[in-house]
Amino acid sequence: MWFFRRPSYGRLESGKRPGMMFRPIDRRYSEKMKPCCTPPSGSSDAGPAPSSGRESCCCGPAPQPAAVGDSKCACTHGDLPGVPPWQDGTVPTPVGPVPRVATALGWSDRLGGWKVRWGIGRGSYRVPPGLYAAGSPGPSSPVLVTANFKVSFDRLRAVLGGIDGWILVLDTKGVNVWCAAGKGTFGTDELVRRLEAVRLAEVVDHRKLILPQLGATGVSTHRVEELSGWRVRYGPVRASDVPSCLDSGRLHVKPEMRRVTFTLAERAVLVPVELVLSFKYLLAAAALIVLLSGLGPGGYGLQRLGDAGVRGVVLLLAGWLGGGALGPLLLPWLPGRAFSVKGAWVGLALVLAALLPLWPGPFANLAEAGGWLLIIPAVASFMTMNFTGASTFTSLSGVRREMRLAVPVQIVAVLLGLVLWTMGRFI
């Protein structure tokens, strides 16, 4: 589904743009949680930052208010709480010291980035929103804007070695730029609010901001200018292209740096989290298969669990991996445009590969073989269909259209398959 893609200022780092992930229950902002620097949730017009300034700031206790006056929730003045390994001192500014970032990624940054790819602590992999410095920036240095998902932030700072610039981190609730822009948290209102909160106008003498291109889904350039007087320029999609775009002192972005790709490597990094997130459903499906496998002539037979049951679970596993991993990896080469069709082909190929070599063997029963021929392609089809959320080129209208047909077909195929497979044991 969603999650990270790479590289960018965070472009897919956590999922596809709008969407990659799916949380069945919206647990955002329960009462007991304090609001972050910005008021709850996507609403674009969320009011002002928490009025009480200091203690409501999410960035830890005592954000050194003395140094910065009423900084609202700028969050990053002076040393960060605990001084994280990626902070490299501070840089003095008219509004107080600003943390300077290290431009080399350390071991903990790499490990953290790897963990979120596997869905571990992804939602809380964040840096405090606010203003940061790279190198030794001055009043005329460029301002680069990114999200507070740490993978996005790390991608950007990692390419800023030798560059003097400011980094403005928006509060995107730990979501990458593209996804957050789709939700509106990397958006016009948050940008304008954050500019105020960090008093950027007192730090630099120009009024130009460089945003990652994929932030355009949430940020309206003309609205930002109307509201704040700041001019937004869109930089490249990928953070790795930032240095070459800044080379001449003015922003110059080649057309190919504005295009989104979806290479094999970009797809591959998104596979683990898809599998992790669907694993609990796999377990439930496997339990159902094992349970059903005991049914047969003469009542419920435990010995059948180790026979038909194990066979079924192996096939199910193949369908899950085929649709969740092979489908995404082979995406451009699978027949059909709908992801559900591409996945069905993978499932069909796998089930035939399992049945034919063993024929007549354990699958001699036509009903049982027919059952699997229906179930596994449907499972793989569903898994690959879910990868639409991670992809960089599927539209909402398109996904809706394919689902209108695919979901009913998948459901009927699975039900019919289960009936056939179970009946096969009675024949």
Binding site: M1, W2, F3, G15, K16, P18, G19, M20, M21, F22, R23, P24, D26, R27, R28, Y29, M33, P35, C36, C37, C58, C59, R122, G123, S124, V127, P128, F149, K173, V175, C179, A181, G182, T185, L214, A216, T217, G218, V219, S220, T221, H222, R258, P332, W333, P335, R337, A338, N386, T388, G389, T392, F393, T394, S395, L396, S397, G398, V399, M403
Partner: protein, 99 residues
């Protein structure tokens, strides 16, 4: 080879040519080269490549572009349907501590 092309003739992207002043912002922000600027007017270069991200529409100062933007994500559509809301892939917006 089928490439990375999604379904044809399905996107909701609309262009109001009369309103367009040819500023070219949409050409810049589109991640899929959907537009091109010809004779001071925008036209579709490849409309089917649109993924409905909505960047062009919110960045068009003339209000010449409209699209039903949203998440092209099956899981998001399912979760939206189950919750009776718009499709939403609430991926990262976790509960866990803020910042």
């Amino acid at each position: 080879m089928f490439g990375l092309r999604y379904l044809p003739d399905v996107v909701t992207l609309e262009l109001d040519l009369a309103a367009c002043t040819g500023c070219g912002t949409c050409v810049t922000v589109c991640p899929h080269e959907v537009f091109e600027l010809v004779d001071q007017k925008i036209r579709f270069r490849d409309r089917d490549a649109c993924m409905e991200c909505g960047a062009c529409a919110i960045n068009c100062p003339d209000g010449a572009l409209a699209v039903e933007a949203g998440v092209g994500c099956a899981a998001g559509i399912i979760s939206g349907a189950l919750r009776g809301t718009e499709p939403s892939c609430d991926c990262g917006s976790d509960d866990s501590s803020c910042c």
